[in-house]
Amino acid sequence: MATVVVKVRTDGPLSVFWRVLRANPLSFLGFLMVAFLGLTALVVVVAPGLVVPYGPLQQTAARNAAPSQQHLFGTDNLGRDIFSNVMLALPLDLGIGFAIAGSALLIGGALGLLAGFYNTPGTVGGWVSVSIMRVTDIFLSFPSLILALALTRVLGLGVGPTVLAITITWWPFYVRLVRGEVLAVKHLPYVNAARAAGVTENRILLRHVLRNVLEPMIVYFTLDIGTVLVTYSTIGFIGVASKYPGTSPEWGAMLAFYQQTGSTNVYPWLVIAPGAAIFVTVLAFSLLGDGLRDILDPRTRRAFVRGTITHDPPPETPAPLPIASGAITDSNPVAPVNVVETRSQT
């Protein structure tokens, strides 16, 4: 008697990561860079002695020294080691990126789920849904940086208020993203099947709908960390977020300080080191996230699928996509913005 082994492939929200990493060398590079930066940040926090040779304010004998073995990124006019300050800023900047994008994901995601799922007109849910979307639309009219800047001056100077200010301007983006995904998913047969089987609405939302909109949320979150970092360090550059020199250095504030006080054309490492640090960090998240985002856009997704399934004969009609969830199907095929959500750079 022959045994038929049926392999059921479970598509967890993370499995898509591996498919993209396999298919796109740049995403894989980004993944390696992010992993390296994350590990380094961990070492800086747990055992700073291993990677941070000097204290942030420690004045060494070498003043305005060019990069050397003792001072990898050189020193400033008081002999402060630039490499140590750049390294010390890494966990802070990464933590800020995760904190802001994470809070925005949770707040915006929850509101987007509500607005997308309980949107029957005439009910309480319908009213709540419309209100959420109107407020979101208005928030989305502001360039995040400008509103966050004004907010930091109202909430107070420093790291905490700045994080809060950016979070206030950041969540609406996730509302629009998640609501769109929920609207695309909520009428699919498996949701109707669950409803017919007597599953309660709340359970459908949390078990069936949420699970299938997680993938685009996570993908977007990955790309967003870089954008958050750019915004935060820009506010740092404008002189509102962090004070440099100080015990907790930050790249944007560091660059602003040396650009205003140092002779940057004579001692270029003063601005190049913190600038390169932020560039590499944001590039790492962008390389990873940009490749992942290809699968969110129905147009590039098709090309992506064609590119990955090379061992199969090319299908006449578009084959069932290997990525099960997250289809961005706009009910109106000619709606002006039928593109993947894009946040403009700050």
Binding site: I146, L147, T264, V334
Partner: protein, 341 residues
Amino acid sequence: MGRSLSDLLVFVAKRLVQLVPVLLGVIILTFVVTHLRLTGLCNEWYPHAGATTLANCNAKYGAPLINQFWQYFTGLLQGDWGQSVTGIQVYPSIAADLPATLELVLASLFLMVVIGIPLGVIAAQYSGRLGDHLVRILYLSGWATPTYLGAVIAAVFIGPYLGLPTSGEYSTTIPPFNQYTHMSVVDAAIALNLPYTVDAIDHLILPAVVLAFINMGIATRMTRASMLEVLPLDYVKSARMKGLAEFWVMYKHALRNALITTTTVLGITAGGLLAGTVVIEEVFDWPGIGQYAFTAIGGNSSTPNFDGAVAVVIIFAIAVVVANLVADILYGLLDPRVDWR
């Protein structure tokens, strides 16, 4: 299918009407979030102010929020945008600064279109191969460059290396002349003075290129995605089959349809371009609204200006809303499938 002229008027009018509640919301939201923390607001903004200034400030911002809003809103309708703590009216300063920013943003948008879109075509043409990867690295590098970093590198290293000016709209050797539009290149051209015009363009190059480089990714990415959608279609195949050179297949047939989606770039990047001007104008000493915002809000600024900051937030939001409106209307005009009724 309604695509007649009267339908178009309805199409545009509908969008203009929809604009009103959004603008009202923008004003209310800006006012509320900036006035939320009333206690200590004056100390926060004007730490070095004298006793009388602080007393005036506290009197102004001590009233109940709803009264303050009513006063602000009625003033706004009459063109009174408030004044800085030193008594300088906000509106005239902003009105004088707006054209310079518009010039910078339009120049960047132009560069984004003429460079970013062909790059997107190349990326789609070589999808998944070396060309695609190179283009992706290029636009992600722009994406990963914070505006201040790009501006500082251009101003400190690239500008002097190429011999391009890095400060202001004109060289200091140029005497003042009639500024009709407050756009440097346009004014010089109106004065029919070729050396002035060349000088103005030289000054515009670096800030515009930095702003365009940083924001170009969206245009490239969107063009690439639309091209990938269009390339497998039959009409592209038949253009190729009739023996048309690949260049014309790409740029005349495929890109023409792909570009319709790219018009939405206008709306999406408006926020990024405007926010970028805050840092770029400060670094390049460009006398626009971004520099005004930097001085009004900046933490290192010696002349913080609360009313000016609120006004700038509202202006930037209105600019984004208007850019989205223009993109929306443009899309409706270009895509024959959009019903105007």
